[in-house]
């Protein structure tokens, strides 16, 4: 029997959409306009140690500074396209609930986002060898937060299942671009962030970012290993804790070394 990644579906190059629904035309337009302006002019994004991101095969990039309206995920994807030696094109991993919302479902899919579902991410990371960007909130990088959220996240579980490298990427400045002023508790344990523009500006909050300089630094990859009999869940927890601690420490160092939050 052939290996399953040798018999992936054929690619029809004249189609605009790929099998995941990503539109080459729309993602190209967004890349050349919105993300180009955000990357080069507004946030002046700088990706350090880009060669830490594997040049081939699947890898999961976990970046801090995420949140409901944070642009750090697409900005990291753009930075990898610009600054990585192989100019790889990552996909964004988003909550499946977002893909169940009318309008957003089409927009996010066409822009290249994929839902956080273990089987899908196993295919993407293991069989298709894609780069995947997962954002995590900076205030959840403490050990308990990492155990409760990151360790059980489908992307981390998929990385463990496929033995895909996990690359922590520190983001400094992302939280300053739209600082969270308060969090209002919601039913179900969730909390709604209140920022300078959200929720009172609605979707316009997506445009109301302060021009903080964003520095990204890729750290050495962690490779999951379950060959010694470690269970998937235990290995996912180890990876999650390790990623969170490294992000915490490196982020503290970078903040300490930073001069101004606006000019870096």
């Amino acid at each position: 029997m052939e290996r399953t990644n040798d018999i992936l579906p054929v690619v029809e190059p004249d189609r605009d959409l790929d099998d995941w629904g990503r539109s080459a035309r729309l993602s190209g337009v967004l890349d050349r306009t919105l993300w180009e302006a955000a990357h080069k002019l507004w946030f002046r994004v700088e990706l350090q140690q880009a060669p830490q991101i594997p040049s081939s095969g699947g890898a999961l990039l976990i970046v801090n500074g995420g949140g409901v309206v944070s642009p750090v995920g697409p900005l990291l994807a753009k930075a990898v396209r610009e600054d990585h030696p192989r100019r790889r094109d990552p996909r964004l991993c988003v909550d499946r609930g977002l893909l169940d919302q009318p309008g957003l479902a089409v927009l996010l899919t066409r822009a290249g986002a994929v839902g956080a579902q273990v089987d899908d991410l196993v295919r993407l990371l293991g069989d298709e060898g894609s780069l995947l960007v997962l954002t995590t909130r900076t205030d959840r990088l403490h050990d308990e937060g990492a155990k409760s959220t990151l360790a059980s996240h489908p992307a981390v579980l998929a990385a463990v299942r496929t033995g895909t490298p996990v690359v922590p990427v520190v983001a400094v400045g992302a939280d300053d671009a739209q600082p969270v002023l308060a969090r209002v508790p919601l039913p179900g344990g969730r909390r709604l962030p209140i920022t300078l523009g959200f929720p009172h500006l609605g979707p316009l909050a997506l445009l109301a970012f302060l021009p903080a300089k964003i520095r990204l630094r890729a750290l050495a990859p962690l490779t999951p290993d379950t060959d010694d009999g470690t269970g998937e869940a235990a290995e996912a927890e180890r990876i999650a804790l390790s990623v969170a601690r490294r992000l915490r420490h490196e982020s503290a160092d970078m903040l300490h070394a930073r001069g101004s939050r606006w000019v870096g």
């Binding site: 169940d100 994929v114 579902q117």
Partner: protein, 405 residues
């Protein structure tokens, strides 16, 4: 099993899909005998297979199975009913399912393998399903909707057969919506309506399979003696809007994004067959991972897009939504041609008219596909076109692309 080749019996022999399966089985060297059964006469005679018309409920099926020493029983009722979304035909399956099970488990039954051909609709449309279904994903025990429930019962009956007689291998084939001249599933609904209403804010994925590929996949599973579940779908997951554009059908996003399941439930109670399946396709859609079957050596002739292009071309040409009426099946004529000493040669009758098949791409549809081919494929296609239809426009376009490369 007999040494000289498999002896295969196919149910629902009067349906178009079963006719295609029979034709695909007839072409295999490892299949010695093909018998088709149903309670209705088929639309056209078979080339090599024999048809036996049974009474309602197929009560005589076990006798036929014993009498013909059938090795493999291929139950395509579900797939045959799903293609035209014939909910009543599949929900009234219990009596026949019982006969199929009896034919496999009764003492002295020669059956060694039961192949159940169903549909991926068996998996339902739960929001927690992955974007691409795989064989490892367990379908729900109690799915929503009449069609999915009937599919579940037929599969459960097959598994119960194996439990009662472990030497009978069970293979479950779940097909994506097969497309062909007759259309299928949501795409058939699009054909029936002047304007297909879609769900506002969603453009779900669609993956189909050409009906000839689907039939060939069933024949492959039978001939290669494969066990377990297999999902059958062509390469390429399209967006619904893309699929409708290929078919040349208009759509309007007028259905509300919330409450589609409730609306489907009401429509289903009002008698609209497959309402849950149509609602699920319009709201969520699904992709299908077809790699397990491909890993066994099966290759699809058409991608999802090519299947739709072929189907839409044939339909445009024929201006009808049904597969047409080929030479009618007359039992006496068949008996005369096959067994009478006066008959000298076969009349070449075939149940699958080739002119409507995968190779039936119209010139315009073919021209659209040409840029996706590499030079080697273009040269091969040119040779084929020159030896066959020899359409000037197609040849000129291939020459132009070869010249550019």
């Amino acid at each position: 099993m007999t040494g000289e080749g498999l002896r295969v019996l196919v149910t629902a022999g009067s349906s178009r899909f079963a006719a295609l399966v029979v034709t695909a089985l007839e072409r295999r060297d490892d299949v010695a005998t093909v018998i088709a059964v149903d309670d209705r006469a088929p639309g056209a005679p078979f080339a090599r297979a024999e048809f036996v018309r049974l009474g309602a409920g197929l009560t005589q099926l076990p006798r036929i199975v014993r009498g013909a020493a059938v090795d493999v029983l291929v139950d395509v009722r579900a797939a045959a009913a799903i293609a035209p979304l014939d909910e009543r035909r599949i929900t009234g399956h219990a009596a026949v399912t019982e006969r199929v099970s009896a034919a496999c488990i009764e003492s002295g039954s020669p059956v060694r393998r039961l192949v159940t051909v169903g549909s991926v609709h068996r998996h339902g449309w739960d929001r927690d399903l992955p974007a691409f279904l795989t064989e490892e994903i367990e379908p729900p025990a109690n799915p929503r909707g009449g069609l999915a429930r009937a599919l579940a019962e037929i599969e459960r009956s097959a598994l119960a057969t194996r439990a009662r007689r472990p030497e009978v291998a069970v293979t479950t084939v779940r097909l994506a919506d097969p497309v062909g001249p007759a259309g299928s599933g949501i795409l058939q609904a699009a054909d029936r309506l002047p304007l297909l209403p879609t769900v506002l804010g969603f453009d779900p994925p669609v993956q189909v399979v050409h009906e000839e590929d689907a039939a060939a996949a069933v024949a492959h599973v039978v001939g290669e003696r494969l066990d377990g579940p297999f999902l059958v779908a062509a390469d390429g997951t399209l967006a619904l809007s893309e699929a409708l554009q290929i078919l040349g059908r208009a759509h309007a996003p007028v259905l509300p994004p919330w409450g589609t399941a409730v609306i489907a439930g009401v429509l289903s109670r009002a008698g609209l067959g497959g309402a849950h399946e149509i609602a699920g396709q319009l709201r969520r859609g699904r992709g299908i991972d077809n790699r397990r079957l491909k890993a066994t050596g099966f290759s699809y002739r058409a991608t999802s897009r090519e299947a739709l292009l072929t189907a839409s071309g044939v339909r445009r040409r024929r201006r009808v939504l049904h597969p047409g009426v080929p030479a009618p099946y007359e039992p006496e004529v068949e008996a005369f041609l096959r067994y009478s000493p006066s008959a000298r040669t076969g009349d070449g009758a075939s149940s699958a008219p080739d002119e409507d098949g995968i190779g039936a791409l119209e010139g315009d549809a073919l021209l659209l596909l040409l840029p996706s081919l590499d030079p080697e494929a273009l040269r091969a296609l040119r040779a084929h076109e020159e030896a066959g239809p020899g359409r000037r426009r197609v040849l000129d376009e291939i020459d132009l692309l070869l010249h550019r490369t």
